[in-house]
Amino acid sequence: MTNMTLKINDLDADLAVGDSGASYIDVDLSNDYIIWTAGSDDVKDGEDEPSEDELNQASTLIAELVETQVAHSLLFDYSASELKEIVGMGENKRYVYAFSFDGDTATEPQLEAWNDSNHNSTTKNVLGLGTPADSMVKAVCTTGALPGANWAKTGGTHINLAGSGASNVVKLNDGNGAITLLSGEGSRELYANIAIVIPDGYATPAIETFVSTIRYSWS
């Protein structure tokens, strides 16, 4: 089989995995987790694991007249017991989330979003209340190129992530199909940028979780 490892950039989102000076954290998917937040003195890079109160105080405020992009995405790094800023999240940056595959795939890996680990519904507010086109989770494949300015905002190059419909998943190899490692190549990294953008005046404040999923296959 082929294994997938998630790496997040914690230094310079202009540098790919393996570039001189690049720094990525291999995410321990069993223990680490990602927080979307407006940030605060207690919820920022280098701080320890935030309490529920601290997270609530660092919630994103919904603006009345303009859409609001959640300002920060932080990884709680369990082994280091501290928060790490995911560098380049939501910006016009290419190397933010790296999905590393240690072998060939049979199909093109894709990124999806669901209510929960049952992977059969997208009815949460953040996922568009069952209308994938209204999902607030915005993602773009950056394996081949920068996403462009304001890619996550209305009119940008993003895909509204929700469910598994062809229009609402991100093909991580730029739509070029399965990946085949070259001779001597130990892994292949595919890249995406992910953001959350809340519509202006959205009437239902909520604390919601969602599940991001990578779907892929091997022969």
């Binding site: 995410v27 998917l29 999806e112 680990s117 199909g177």
Partner: protein, 129 residues
């Protein structure tokens, strides 16, 4: 689906020889199939019976999985389906065998698509046998 005694599939080649596949879906041995013309492919289903494909020019096999990167079950590689493909002229027959307990375990879905269908074009070309 894991069985330490019975291989996932058997391939009968036109020269009369047989290839036994791997013993679990994480190690299928598909890439090690000799480059010879296949006469029939016998694929063991979750219930223990076999699906037989024969008469195709080329065959393709894949195991689909998902890995959550957030949520309660993040990090687990969860098998979803087995896909078997048989190509003949400009058509491809596709069998999907469900692997998700309480959802589609053992259910078989069948469709026929054109060779130029996006799904077929985006498969890894190295893995056709």
């Amino acid at each position: 689906m894991k069985n330490t005694k019975i291989s996932l599939y058997k391939i009968l080649f036109k020269d009369g020889t047989i290839f036994n596949g791997g013993y679990d879906l994480f190690n299928t041995e598909w890439k090690n199939i000799p480059n010879k013309e296949i006469k029939k492919l016998y694929y063991r289903l979750p219930a223990g019976d076999y699906l037989c494909l024969g008469g195709y020019e080329k065959y393709f096999h894949r195991v689909e999985a998902i890995v959550d990167i957030s949520g309660k079950e993040k990090g687990k590689t969860k098998l979803q389906s087995i896909y078997l493909y048989g190509k003949k002229q400009d058509k491809v027959i596709v069998y999907q065998i469900g692997l998700v307990k309480d959802i589609n375990l053992g259910l078989i879905y069948k469709k026929i698509v054109n060779i130029n269908d996006e799904e077929i074009k985006k498969l890894n070309p190295k893995n056709w046998k």
